[in-house]
Amino acid sequence: MDTLYLIANTAFQALVMGFIYAALALGYNIVYRVSKAVNLAEPEIVVFTAYVVFVLSAYYHVPIPAAFTLSLALGFGVGVALERLLARPLRGRPVAALMAATLGAYYVLRGMSMVVSRGFEMGSLGLPETYYSIGPVRASLSDFIAICVSLSVIVGIVLMHRYTRLGIAMRAVSEDAFGASAYGLPVTVLTMLSWGIAGVVSAAAAFALAAKAQVSPMLDFYAIKALAASLLAGLDSIAGVVVGGLVLGFMEQFGSLALDPILPGLGNQLAFIVMLVVLLFKPYGLFGTERIERV
C-alpha cells in the first residue's frame, strides 16, 4: 500500500479524533478551573446526551439539528444540577469529596441513559453516507461534522473566556474566588454557569463522538480517555486542550498502526499510559498553572 496514502489517512483520522478528545477534555477543564476537582460524571453526561440526540431523531423523528440543540440544553441543565446539588454543598470540603460525589453522579446518569435509550443498546445517528477524496485523504461527512462541532465548541469557549465580560468574570473566579467576590462578582452564579457550560461542551463533544463511533454505552470509554488530554494540557488550561487532544489522537492512531501487529490493542490504551506519565513527571501538564505552596 502506498505509504503516503497510509500516513495521510492515519494523520487525518488522528486529527479528527484529536479534536474530539480536545472538546471532551475541555469539559473537564472548565469544571476544574472553578471547582478544583475532576468531574468524574462527565463520561456519562456524554453518553446521556448522545442518547438524547439518537432517541429524539430515530424514534421521535426530531430533525438532527433540533435534537442536537436540545441535547446542548440538557447538557447545560445537567451541569447546573451537578453544581447545585453536589459542588455547592461540598464547597470548602476536601476535593476528594466532590470527586467522589461526581462518581456517584456518574452512576445516576448511567441509569438515566439506560432509561432514555428506551432499552436500546446502540444506534447510528443516520448521517448521510457521503464520502470525499481530498488528495490522498478519504473523508466522510461524519469526519467533517466531528471536526466542525469540536472546533466550534473549543474556539467558542476560548473566545468567550478571552473577550466577553462573562468569560473574564469566570476567569477571575477561577483565579481567585475570594478576590472576585470582594470585587462584587456573583461567584456562586458564575460557578454554576461554568458547570452548565461544561455540560454544553460535553454534549457537543458527545455529538461529534457519536458521529464517529455510533451511539452506545461505550462512549464513556472515550470520555475517560480524554482525561489524558486534559491532564496533558494541564487541568486548568483552556486552549491547551487542543494540544493535549491532538497529541492523544496522533499517539493513539500512529501507536495502533505501529503496535497492533506486535501487541494488538496496546495502541488504544496509550491514553492511560499518558495519564500515568503526566501524573508522575508533569502533574500540572504542559500549560497548567504550577501552584507552589509556601509554608
Binding site: V16, R138, P217
Partner: protein, 439 residues
C-alpha cells in the same frame, strides 16, 4: 455584569425541564426489574397446591462493550421467564414450577460476573444460571460444575462444549465459523481470507484456531490476521481495514459484535475496499443494514445457527415469542433485534424443557444435577425442540454440542436478508481443532 437573578432563573428552569423530561421518559418505559417476581395469579397457585420454586440467576451485559447485542438478549430472557411463569411449567408428574430469577448487569466484566455468581450461589442458592459472555462463562465453568449449577450461556465457545454443566442451544463458535469457511470455499475456491477480530477478547478469539485449521483443509487461504477492537471508533476500524486492504482479500471474517463489525463494513465502503464480509453470530442481525449503511448491501453475510424469527412467522416458536413480548409488555418498538430476543428466549426455553422431563422428587432432590441429567437424557432420547426457531438439540455427556446446523444470511443488493444453507460441517471436528490449539 449579568444579574444573579437571571442566571438563577435560567438554571432553575432548566433543572425543572430536565426533571420533567426524566419523569416522562420513566413513565413510558417498560420495567427491567431485578428481583424475583410473583404475580398475584401465581401467588394464588402457591396457596392452593404444591409448587416448586426454581431459583435462577441471570447475568447480562446492559452497559458494557457487548451491550450492543446484550440488551435485547436480556429482554428475551426476562420475557421468557414471565411467559413460562404465566403459562405454567409442570414437571413430568404434574407439579407446577415457578421461576424466581435475579437479573444482574455485569457489564462484560468477568470479575463482576464472579461476584454475582457468588451472590447467586450463596444468597439465592440458584439451580441454574442464564449467562452471557465467553470470558466469564469459561471462567465460571469449573465453579458451576463444582456447585452443580446448570449454566446456559449466550457464549457458544468450543471450550464450553466439554464442560459438564455448561449448555447452549447452538453449535459452538468454531463449528459455526467452519460452516462459514465452507461457504466461502464453495463460493470461491482458493479464496483469500483476512481475519478481523479483537485479539484480546475471548469471544472474538474463540473460533480462530478452527478457522485456520479448516481453511487449510478446504483450500481457503488465510492471508491476514488483523486486530479490530470491540470498542472501535470509525478511525480504529479504518486503520484495521487499511491493514486488511494491503492483503487484497476476497473475503473478510469479522469476529466481533455488531457495533464493531458495522463500523468495519462502513470503513470498507468509505475506503473503497473490496471483499465480502462474513460475520460471526453476534456481529450480524436485522439491524445491520441500518447500522452499516447502504454500502454494506451485497457485500455482507452473517453466520446464524438460528432461524431469523421474521423468516419463520408461521412457526410455533415465533408465536411464542410474540406472546412473550406481549406478556412482558414489550411492543415491536421496544425490541431492536428479534434474533437477539429469540436467543435469550431459547436459553430459558431449554431450561424449561429440561425441567419438564423430570419428576418433582428428582428435581427437588437433584436441583442443578437433576437438570443436567435431564438435558443429557436427550443424547439417546428425544431431542429438545424449539418450535422452528432453531434445529432440535441433543446433548451427550462429555460433549454438549447441540447440533451442527448453520445458515448464512446474506445482505443482498436489495437491502434484504437472504438465507442460504443450511450448512453442516461433518468432515472435520472444529471443536477439537479449537481445543487442541488452546483457543
Amino acid at each position: 455584569m449579568v444579574s444573579k437573578a437571571v442566571y438563577a432563573g435560567i438554571a432553575i428552569l432548566i433543572i425543572v425541564l430536565v426533571v420533567v423530561a426524566g419523569l416522562l421518559m420513566l413513565r413510558s418505559q417498560p420495567s427491567m426489574h431485578v428481583s424475583p417476581t410473583t404475580t398475584p395469579t401465581e401467588a394464588g397457585v402457591v396457596a392452593e397446591k404444591r409448587v416448586i420454586r426454581v431459583p435462577v440467576g441471570v447475568l447480562v451485559d446492559l452497559s458494557g462493550p457487548t451491550s450492543g447485542v446484550g440488551r435485547d438478549y436480556a429482554k428475551g430472557v426476562e420475557a421468557a421467564f414471565k411467559y413460562f411463569n404465566e403459562k405454567g411449567v409442570y414437571t413430568r408428574d404434574g407439579v407446577r414450577v415457578v421461576f424466581d430469577y435475579w437479573v444482574r448487569d455485569y457489564a462484560y466484566n468477568p470479575t463482576r460476573a464472579e461476584e454475582f455468581y457468588r451472590e447467586f450461589r450463596d444468597k439465592y442458592g440458584v439451580w441454574a444460571i442464564i449467562g452471557w459472555g465467553t470470558a466469564d462463562t469459561e471462567k465460571l465453568s469449573d465453579s458451576a460444575a463444582r456447585d452443580h449449577i446448570v449454566y446456559i450461556s449466550a457464549s457458544y465457545s468450543a471450550k464450553l462444549v466439554v464442560k459438564p454443566y455448561n449448555f447452549f442451544p447452538a453449535p459452538d463458535y468454531s463449528t459455526q465459523a467452519c460452516a462459514a469457511v465452507r461457504w466461502i470455499a464453495s463460493k470461491k475456491p482458493g479464496a483469500r481470507l483476512v481475519l478481523l477480530y479483537d485479539h484480546n477478547a475471548a469471544y472474538s478469539r474463540s473460533p480462530i484456531p478452527a478457522i485456520k485449521a479448516y481453511a487449510a483443509k478446504v483450500g481457503v487461504n488465510i492471508v491476514g490476521d488483523v486486530h479490530l477492537p470491540l470498542k472501535a471508533t470509525e478511525a480504529d476500524a479504518e486503520k484495521s481495514i487499511r491493514e486488511a486492504m494491503a492483503k487484497n482479500p476476497d473475503y473478510l471474517w469479522c469476529g466481533n459484535t455488531i457495533r464493531s463489525c458495522a463500523l468495519a463494513v462502513k470503513a470498507a465502503t468509505k475506503l473503497g475496499a473490496k471483499g465480502m464480509f462474513v460475520i460471526n453470530v453476534w456481529g450480524f442481525d436485522e439491524r445491520f443494514p441500518e447500522l452499516a449503511g447502504k454500502g454494506s448491501y451485497g457485500r455482507t453475510a452473517g453466520v446464524s445457527p438460528f432461524r431469523y424469527p421474521e423468516t419463520v412467522r408461521d412457526s410455533e416458536g415465533y408465536r411464542m415469542l410474540v406472546e412473550a413480548m406481549k406478556i412482558a409488555g414489550y411492543s415491536d418498538k421496544d425490541v431492536g433485534s428479534m434474533l437477539r430476543f429469540a436467543q435469550g428466549f431459547l436459553n430459558v426455553w431449554l431450561l424449561v424443557q429440561a425441567i419438564e422431563r423430570l419428576d418433582s422428587t428428582t428435581l427437588v432432590k437433584g436441583k442443578g444435577a437433576a437438570i443436567k441429567q435431564a438435558l443429557e437424557s436427550s443424547c439417546q432420547g428425544e431431542p429438545f425442540d424449539f418450535g422452528g426457531l432453531a434445529p432440535p438439540a441433543r446433548y451427550c455427556p462429555g460433549r454438549h454440542l447441540a447440533h451442527t446446523t448453520v445458515w448464512i444470511v446474506v445482505l443482498g443488493e436489495d437491502g434484504r436478508l437472504h438465507v442460504e444453507g443450511p450448512i453442516e460441517v461433518t468432515d472435520f471436528d472444529c471443536v477439537k481443532a479449537t481445543l487442541e490449539a488452546g483457543g
